[in-house]
């Protein structure tokens, strides 16, 4: 049986419409739940920079939300470290700033959210400042959150995520094994210049005595370079804010 062209075209059109409706219907129905899941995941990532992954995975979604509410404050700054409360007449809040969208703007026009980790219910007792990061890995976007201790120099922790790095190689940036290498490293050198923390090429070397270097990921050098660029560029964008916090603490210490 050889079908006519008209039959084939009609069949294809009907199939496309039916499948299309099915898919868009599903997306509509599941959309709100997906948004919730994504928002929760973002909170988990932010918290992941300051508390361990095991603690987070032991929490229920409600507990994560509650912990986040009571421990995380937020502000938005511009490239000069000045607080931004509205842009183009619209009020901005750190949770709603899309770092990925801002990444497409020139660095000086972007909004830079800062998440402030403080003691439970008391936002004057700051424990660390969590800075969002965004950049490019080997295949696709990578992003993360870097926590700076109150000395604005020591890295408290980092979480990283990716859209499409190679499983087992570049995708290892999401593992605690790689992320823990950042803890305790310093972003300023002795002469006070911002140098950041650089992942090295090769794996298995001991960099514990070098405050600006960490062990690399074998087989994922390009992802590692992407991570380095991301960390370095965002630290430099936040530099004004970091400096301002640093000097205010120096004053407070006197």
């Amino acid at each position: 049986m050889q079908q006519s062209n008209a039959y084939i075209i009609t069949f294809s059109v009907i199939l496309t419409v039916v499948l299309g409706l099915l898919l868009s219907g599903t997306a509509q129905v599941l959309g709100p739940r997906q948004q919730e899941a994504i928002a929760l995941d973002k909170k988990k990532q932010i918290l992941g920079a300051v508390i361990s992954g095991e603690e987070i995975s032991a929490m229920s979604p409600q507990e994560v939300n509650q912990y986040y509410e009571s421990h995380i404050g937020a502000t938005v700054v511009d490239i000069n470290g000045k607080e931004v409360t509205e842009k183009d007449g619209v009020a901005v809040s750190a949770e709603n700033v899309d770092v990925a969208k801002n990444y497409k703007l020139p660095a000086e026009d972007r909004l830079y959210p800062v998440f402030i980790y403080h003691e439970e219910g008391d936002d004057s007792k700051v424990k660390s400042y969590i800075l969002p990061l965004y950049g490019a890995g080997l295949w696709d976007a990578i992003w993360g959150y870097l926590a700076l201790d109150t000395d604005m120099n020591t890295v408290g922790g980092i979480t990283m995520a990716h859209a499409g790095e190679t499983p087992g190689l570049g995708a290892r940036i999401t593992t605690p094994e790689v992320q823990s290498r950042y803890s305790g490293k310093e972003i300023f050198n002795e002469s006070g210049e911002l140098v950041g923390v650089e992942m090295q090429k090769g794996e298995g070397k001991d960099y514990s005595s070098e405050p600006h270097k960490i062990d690399g990921m074998s087989g994922a050098t390009i992802t590692g370079t992407g991570v380095n660029n991301m960390v370095k560029s965002y630290l430099s964008h936040y530099k004004a804010y970091i400096e301002s916090k640093k000097s205010s603490q120096a004053v407070a210490a006197l």
């Binding site: 049986m1 050889q2 079908q3 039959y7 084939i8 069949f11 294809s12 199939l15 496309t16 499948l19 099915l22 898919l23 599903t26 997306a27 599941l30 739940r33 997906q34 899941a37 994504i38 929760l40 995941d41 995520a161 499409g164 499983p167 087992g168």
Partner: protein
């Protein structure tokens, strides 16, 4: 080759038992004798990639079972209306829709799993088992038989990847379904008794080795030889 040439002549009986011998064979054959992974060596890519831990492997197995059975069912329902000249693209459209459904549901209800399995759920589309069963079976057989055939193939795939994942998680991470088995054993025998995990098992190479061993054991038992 048109769809008609694939059609097998099935002897028509007034009412075949719900699970007749022939139908049972449809499900059980792909488990061992016609196993998609160990005999046909299909679907290896995901078998290597998702099997570091049992939990994502289980989710992957369930997704594959759903997609294969459902696509077999849908294609079999439409088998007499599908134009032969565009049948591959029709199959692809159906499979892709089912896979997208699975991926959307995971995204809504198991976001962590969705992130972990990432591209591999989407890649079920290209899993040779799915298209293979559609071409070889669903296009020429009735819906119920096709569902059974799909279930059989998907279960054959599932038990292999679950076995691989069991050994990889046990030796690679020292746990089973996230429960720390090695630590518990060390706890019983005291701190001096330490079971070491093997990093090789966490990398895809580990899956190759386990898979190779499973194929070896199976072929020794069944005497299967490649022609």
């Amino acid at each position: 080759m048109s769809a008609e040439t694939i059609e097998k002549a099935i002897v028509k009986k007034p009412a075949e038992a719900f699970l007749s011998k022939r139908r049972k064979k449809l499900v059980t054959d792909p488990l061992v004798d016609e196993n998609p992974i160990t005999i046909q060596v299909l679907g290896i890519c995901s078998a290597l990639a998702v099997t570091t831990q049992l939990k994502p492997t289980l989710v992957m197995a369930i997704s594959v079972i759903f997609v294969v059975a459902m696509s077999n069912f849908v294609i079999s329902l439409m088998r007499n209306t599908i134009p032969a000249r565009v049948r591959i693209i029709v199959q692809l459209a159906v499979v892709a829709t089912l896979v997208t459904l699975v991926s959307e549901v995971l995204k809504a209800f198991a976001y962590d799993m969705y992130k972990e399995l990432s591209v591999f759920v989407g890649l079920i589309i290209t899993n040779c088992i799915v298209m293979g069963r559609l071409e070889a079976f669903a296009l020429g057989n009735k819906p119920y038989d096709s569902v059974l055939d799909g279930l059989g193939s998907a279960l054959g795939y599932s038990w292999i990847i679950l076995t691989v994942a069991f050994f990889r998680e046990l030796w690679g991470s020292g746990s089973v379904f996230g429960l720390p088995v090695f630590d518990t054993i060390s706890g019983i025998f005291g701190p001096d008794f330490k079971l070491a995990t093997n990093g090789l098992m966490v990398s895809p190479v580990g899956a190759f080795i386990i898979l190779g061993l499973i194929i070896w054991v199976q072929r020794t038992k069944t005497g299967y030889v490649e022609h």
